[in-house]
Assembly symmetry: C2
């Protein structure tokens, strides 16, 4: 009996000991939980208050240092260069055929691969496309061209009114729009909730009977991007303003938007060689994204381009907006259990299969423009040319819809490939018609491909005064730009920031 009682006492002690250890470990766990909460409190406690019109990203950054510091990485071009070549690529030098495709339009002057959001103002000011205005009334571009470049647009729109903002020259707002794309473009300054600040997106959905001010947070994580990453045009029907408008009334497909423009009789410009009434596609990124499998599975833009990140136990959205290929671990690999190298190879493979035919389509379009020019030179009439010119318009629209959309070959590879197939067919159809026109005018041999193997040769071929444009731009940068910067400095120095 006694030894049994001893045994029982012994096992009671063991139970007691185990309990002590477990309770101690629970204590550690509780402490770590409390620790994280404390840090959370610390991070989200505003350090400063600022005025509602505040557009300086660095001021918002006082209260949101992690978001701001990660946003500022969009200025670091070495990240992009890892997979995309050097940070700012002169696309007209890489592919001089683009000069011919855009002959008569701004893009033939200057077209660089886009850099991070932090460069939005700098790059649009430096571009030859925006010209060299000498006064607020001067220059080739309308005020609407600022719309996607800066949170100052939101401020000016609320101060002047939307239609008034869309009225006037680009130069007339140069002193107003100075802070690059940033916090106020997507966030409400009071609640910090995501918000749509650009009327064009709200209006486009409204015309389809959809109210996007009442969608889920996950949808907002794409829609804030869709404020700018879409196809658009300038509605000039009031003969005064250039009202930024999305051609989505019939849908977002290549065909639906083309039908929209065709029905309007709209063209962005008349081609300098072929005289075709052309359309310029403006990065239909959101549109093509909606046609891909990631959108179909509910993945938002931010899920891959701004994935969640942890620092010091604090989860936040990485505001270093970039290619997911620079950040596979936090983007792709959240869902796809494959090695980084394999996933990147899968993306490149998709891109390669599309670029091959896109490249061929470019060549066919250069040929079509060149053949059309020869037909005009030989005395073709409007009537003889009209069928071929419509085909050229439609073929280049297909090419541009696929080529201008950032990441199209990954976002919706099959749709992009489908569009390019149709472009090839139309471009060749144009050339079939032109072959018959040229035959009727006595040209029986194949028209030689123009000598455009450098940007300089291509710009000379279309008669572009490149050197003059550059000289004028330099003058503008020396004289006009400093005045804009100074005016902005004076204005912003009046905005109060109160440290709490």
């Amino acid at each position: 009996m006694k030894s049994e009682s001893k045994k029982r006492t012994f096992s009671t002690w063991i139970i007691f000991g185990v309990t002590v250890v477990v309770v101690f470990l629970l204590g550690l766990l509780a402490a770590s939980i409390v620790d994280r909460r404390a840090e959370g409190e610390f991070v989200y406690k505003p350090k400063a208050s600022f005025e509602p019109q505040e557009t300086r990203n660095q001021v918002w950054g006082i209260n949101f240092p992690r978001e701001y510091q990660s946003y500022m990485k969009t200025a670091d071009t070495t990240f992009r260069s890892k997979y995309n070549g050097s940070a700012m690529i002169d696309m007209l030098a890489v592919d001089p055929r683009l000069v011919v495709l855009w002959a008569g339009y701004g893009f033939s002057k200057d077209y660089n691969q886009g850099r991070g959001h932090a460069y939005a103002i700098k790059d649009v000011v430096n571009s030859l496309r925006t010209g060299a205005p000498k006064s607020a009334e001067d220059g080739p571009m309308p005020s609407t061209c600022w719309t996607c470049k800066s949170p100052d647009v939101v401020r000016v729109m609320s101060e002047k009114g939307v239609r008034e903002y869309y009225t006037g020259t680009w130069a007339s707002l140069g002193h107003e729009i100075v802070n690059p794309i940033g916090c106020a473009d997507c966030h409400d300054p009071q609640s910090m909730n995501l918000r749509i600040t650009r009327p064009t997106l709200i209006e486009a959905f409204q015309r389809q009977g959809k109210d996007i001010t009442k969608v889920s947070h996950q949808e907002m994580r794409s829609l804030v991007c869709a404020q700018c990453h879409v196809e658009y045009y300038f509605d000039k029907s009031d003969k005064k303003s250039n009202y930024l408008t999305l051609p989505w009334d019939g849908g977002m497909t290549m065909e639906a938007m083309e039908a929209y423009y065709d029905n309007l009789g709209f063209s962005d410009w008349t081609h300098a060689l072929s005289k075709a009434p052309m359309l310029k596609a403006q990065h239909p990124d959101y549109e093509l994204y909606t046609m891909g499998v990631h959108a179909d599975r509910g993945v938002s833009c931010a899920d891959c381009h701004m994935p969640y990140k942890s620092e010091g136990g604090q989860k936040f959205t990485d505001h270093h907006i970039q290619s997911p290929l620079n950040n596979v671990a936090n983007s792709c690999q959240v869902c796809h259990r494959e090695e980084t190298a394999k996933l990147i190879a899968n993306v490149f493979e998709r891109q390669d299969k599309i670029i091959e035919n896109r490249d061929k389509l470019e060549e066919l379009l250069v040929r079509a423009h060149t053949e059309a020019k020869l037909a005009w030179d030989k005395g073709a009439t409007e009537q003889m040319m009209s069928g071929a010119l419509t085909d050229i318009r439609h073929a280049q629209w297909r090419w541009d819809y696929a080529a201008a959309s950032h990441g199209a070959s990954f976002h919706a590879p099959l749709e992009t490939s489908r569009v390019i197939s149709k472009g090839i067919e139309k471009a060749q159809e144009a050339r079939l018609k032109l072959t018959r026109v040229l035959n009727a005018l006595g040209v029986v041999d194949e028209v030689p491909y123009p000598d455009i193997d450098t940007k300089e040769k291509a710009q000379a071929y279309i008669g572009l005064p490149a050197e003059k444009l550059k000289a004028d731009k330099n003058e503008f940068l020396k004289t006009m730009l400093p005045q804009w910067v100074e005016a902005a400095k004076v204005r912003e120095s009046g905005w109060k920031v109160t440290y709490l």
Copy 2:
């Protein structure tokens, strides 16, 4: 002390009771495990032994009832019709343009959508393509045309020798080849291991330095299919045999196989209208499968087309080879956590995006053949035509590579789309050249599209004596076929089956 001791006794009883219950449940579990083992023993215990040359699927089925019974479902055409329309579709009636594309070749006579493996013999015997031989030396087709239709091919090859099997007419082996595709095509009769029985696949890999007799079981689950589901041609270089050969020496891509054929100066036939030296693509299924993401992730043909199944606690491979769309739960949903309707919609969307352009390419090819015919009729010379005819050859190869491959639009959608883009470009290139040739011969207007909106009209357009072919076939089915069936019956009655 006493009440404490009582408490201890009570808790000891509780522990005792819990132990009893747990041990009882363990006993139940053990019993269920033993039960399954017993069933396993029962299933895999052979009921009969048969001779090594045995090719009758129903005899193998005595020992493997689950595999055999599921295989026999390939005879049930209602399954296929669920997504693929009625079981046997006359593709020439659905799409009469095919008649023109194959003018001068067997496929213009008769081309049905394939049915299940159980119909392999029946459908090749009934096809107008195999003609109406009156004797063992008669008819349009060589013995090689049986190669993918029956396990009897394995037997005859081992009896006669491989090259000897490939020598002679199709009719000469009519009495030998009678059992449809089945067990012995893929399984070793002793070990039941998967095996490659068709020399052409082993030889093709051998020429690339690969020994596929030593690959993993998972690879075999695709390679047994690749014995037949590949692009092939008949090598006639010994002037005697039609040696079945895969054109893979330079790779499996569309371009690599085309280069292989071009280098050989090989063509399947000369087109009856355009006189172009044509290539017929023969279902390059395995090739396109290797270029898709499922192959990239190590998914085999059998994983989707013959997924594992459970019956009575026994796991086995479902031998009802069919579209995974008929069996989404056991195929797609093993990996993809999406609803059936969504997954099927995703497949259809891929197919639609490709079929649209494939369809356009067909129209362009009909136009090219028609325009070439007119050029010949107007007196074009070989020299004038040669460039256009090469383009037609290459364009139609691209179309056929994409169109003939079963499931291409799903297995490798982007590659398929890429190939069709290139086909469209080449077809239009041919038409550009033909437009110049026709102009030189005085034809300045567009050549009208032929009136081929029914199979009958299209066959009349290419000068095919359809009614005569059908009458001859009926005669063959009444006279020759019964002799083959009778001879087979006599032979097989000599094969011993011993019940154990």
